[in-house]
Symmetry: C2
Subunit: 450 residues, 2 copies
């Protein structure tokens, strides 16, 4: 069972694949400790997506800073009998001492663009591969899904309800954080509220109504504790549930301070219209309607188009697992070792060799195109990769806080060309020009291995 | 960042949705602390699946046993200003004191069958909803996917390579554990090897070859450290890579102890055949061929059908995220409170009221059908739900260890009727008869709310 808390140092050092440790022992034995550059990128946008929103950097850096092997870790490795004593002694002193460059969290990125660039002695950069991929891959998937949901909601409130169907404890935390980053308004998950300072939201479950049996009695009792609460009206019959809310208003008079009702099943468009009429007819125009239950960006877009009178959404499973794209073809690849560009050639999957920078060029306030170029290039546009760690230490002021990142993410979405903000694949992808130097380096390496 | 270690008590108490805490405060205020029965089940099998393999119970019980609110947790809740001081004092003493019944890990289950049944004072049973769902839902999804992959592999070795694309730290651990439970042979994830005692496997990455530039030199150096290693042959050109392995054998003579080569890209059927011929022609019949790279159960079934000479598989992303079914319609529902059956009626989703037992009936060694009946019923067949926690304490000997569960899971798969072992949806589902008492209780509750 993973722990929600940050935990003691060393806890994540073994969150690595066996082959990383084997390669590190071999590198050390061979004295291959020169600087390496690894870049984290993806080759293809997943289904229907026109962008990926980068996320997960701050939690990753927290983990990297604390990364060390505990005595227990080393004991486990010793008992495995695969590694040399010399290597285990080396691991005892292991710390990440390299540099990290990354695009800020909330940045929209496109195929072949590095989200994270690690510049470190080869063994260190190799050892952290599993952790870097694990953290950035899913945080970015979840942020991307959340951004699509926020775009579809068209300004209505969106709350993350996904913790129960997220893939484990850490996933629940990552979903809540990525969703807030991407523009959701909060989460139902207390642990994420505490750790990240995200606003928390909650209503009531069917079990509360069921336990009471009588729906009206259940509503009244809940309001005794939480007078401004949202009442769940669909346990037995939605419309009768709404009528009970009206009845409660009559009974309670001015003590009635209910803010919203929640619909969780059935035809939400039709039920929201009927509920709105019943509430309005009773003078309860200020009581909002929130909806939940199997929602995703496509349903939200449909509700907006049909002008369903819904004021906010709770989105769970589809957000929590990025249901239509639960994985991204993301890789962490060596592109330079000891000052020389590197690549892999055998498959049709291109890896441009050499350390890179992304130059983003704008027209007015909208993005026009990116150029992927060697890191040292002087090109127009903003260089998106910024240094965040120097010699293993996080650079002061390099990372914005989560609220600042959320504002930045919103601006990123506003600056995206309109066709790329749609929920389906645009007729043409965002332009990422590959600088000719990268193409010629790739060709040179191909020649070398012919 | 979640922690891999088990962590201090209290760490998971806030892994709950806000509404659970609100409902618990309301229940306590109303004195609604009578025993409740909640059942965890799913209504529909996900795409192409003919069964779900239950998993995640032992880690869940670890978490439940340690569940308590720390001073920090309470401080956060106090600062939120939503809860009463009386309630916060109650939470300070919170422990789970209820009973848990569950099907053993590795059991194959079907729609409407409870995987877990919690019998506890209503507030306690309510509070743990998020955690129970979060842990059992994904562990069972991953075990189900792994079982399909193992069936498709037809006896060839399968290793979990999924940690990098699993949804966070906890997901990586759950995938490795569920995969082993379901019959995979091991994992690449060190942390899972340590915590669960799962065999670990590792080879080498492209970056190792790339860093050396020269492939033959890289192979030779790696073998200096790990003479029996698996060599990755597809960094530049797969067939040339295999020929270099043969060359190495010539150079090294008897010191050559390489056990396998790994193919990670290209047409794996064709490449495995060519590689097998080259190895065999060089007298290297004992060098195995393992394959990886975007594999899933469908590709494995195809390889088996085409008799590709592949001895083992590394399966990553598709296993780690259960790619074709990343979520399951699993719910944790109140079915009884204070001795009286409960349900929810408004949607078309049926919840059978009352506490239940699953009776599994066999013909020979194969499962024939299940009967879902009230818990007290005396019916033929084995009752699958067993008590594992009594008054908050795990019962001695109630849980098998992971290896025993793995054997049990294998037996479950062997006892499944043949058509349900296929990778596509069988023409008819496994029979789960609903006892007439459950139907009539449901109808009685429907009448009551008309």
């Amino acid at each position: 069972m993973a722990e929600v808390s940050q935990g003691e140092p060393g806890g994540l050092a073994l969150f690595t694949d066996l082959y990383e440790l084997m390669m590190v022992q071999a590198y050390l034995r061979e004295g291959m400790t020169a600087p390496a550059v690894f870049e984290l990128f993806f080759r293809e946008l997943p289904a229907e997506r026109n962008f990926v929103m980068a996320a997960g950097l701050a939690p990753l850096l927290d983990a990297l800073e604390g990364l060390q092997f505990s005595a227990d870790d080393l004991e486990y490795l010793r008992a495995d009998e695969r590694f040399s004593e010399e290597f285990l002694h080396h691991l005892a002193d292991f710390r990440f001492t390299g540099d990290v460059w990354a695009v800020p969290e909330g940045t929209l990125v496109f195929p072949h663009e590095p989200l994270v660039q690690v510049v470190a002695p080869l063994p260190e950069a190799q050892l952290i591969e599993t952790l870097v991929l694990n953290q950035i891959h899913f945080a970015s998937l979840a942020a991307t899904k959340a951004a699509r949901i926020v775009l579809a909601a068209g300004g209505r409130r969106v709350i993350d309800f996904g913790s129960r169907r997220a893939h484990g404890i850490d996933a629940g935390m990552i979903v809540a954080r990525s969703a807030y980053l991407a523009g959701c308004d909060g989460t139902s998950l207390m642990a994420a509220g505490r750790r990240y300072g995200i606003p928390i939201f909650g209503t009531m479950a069917h079990s509360y109504i069921q336990a009471h049996g009588d729906e009206l009695a259940a509503f009244a009792s809940f309001l005794d504790s939480f007078p401004e609460s949202t009442l769940l009206v669909d346990t037995y019959d939605t419309i009768e549930g709404v009528q009970k809310v009206v009845e409660l208003r009559r009974k309670m008079g001015d003590r009635f301070r209910v803010r919203a009702i929640r619909l969780d099943s059935g035809d939400l468009v039709e039920l929201s219209r009927q509920s709105r009429r019943i509430l309005d007819d009773a003078g309860l125009q200020h009581v909002q309607i929130v909806a939940s239950g199997g929602l995703d960006e496509y349903k939200l877009a449909q509700f907006a188009e049909l002008q369903a009178p819904i004021d906010g959404y709770g989105v769970g499973t589809s957000l929590a697992v990025s249901s239509d794209a639960p994985a991204l073809d993301m890789a962490y690849k060596l592109v330079e070792y000891d000052g020389r560009p590197r690549t892999k050639l055998s498959s049709s999957k291109v890896i441009y060799p050499g350390r890179k920078q992304i130059f983003r060029q704008t027209v007015g306030s909208a993005y026009d195109r990116d150029v992927l170029a060697p890191a040292g290039a002087k090109l127009p546009g903003e260089g998106l990769l910024k240094q965040v760690v120097r010699k293993g230490q996080r650079m002061a002021g390099a990372l914005p806080n989560l609220c600042e990142s959320r504002d930045y993410a919103a601006e990123q979405l506003r600056s995206l060309p309109e066709p790329l903000r749609q929920l389906t694949r645009a007729s043409s992808e965002y332009t990422v020009d590959i600088a000719s130097e990268l193409e010629s380096q790739l060709n040179a390496l191909r020649q070398q291995h012919l």
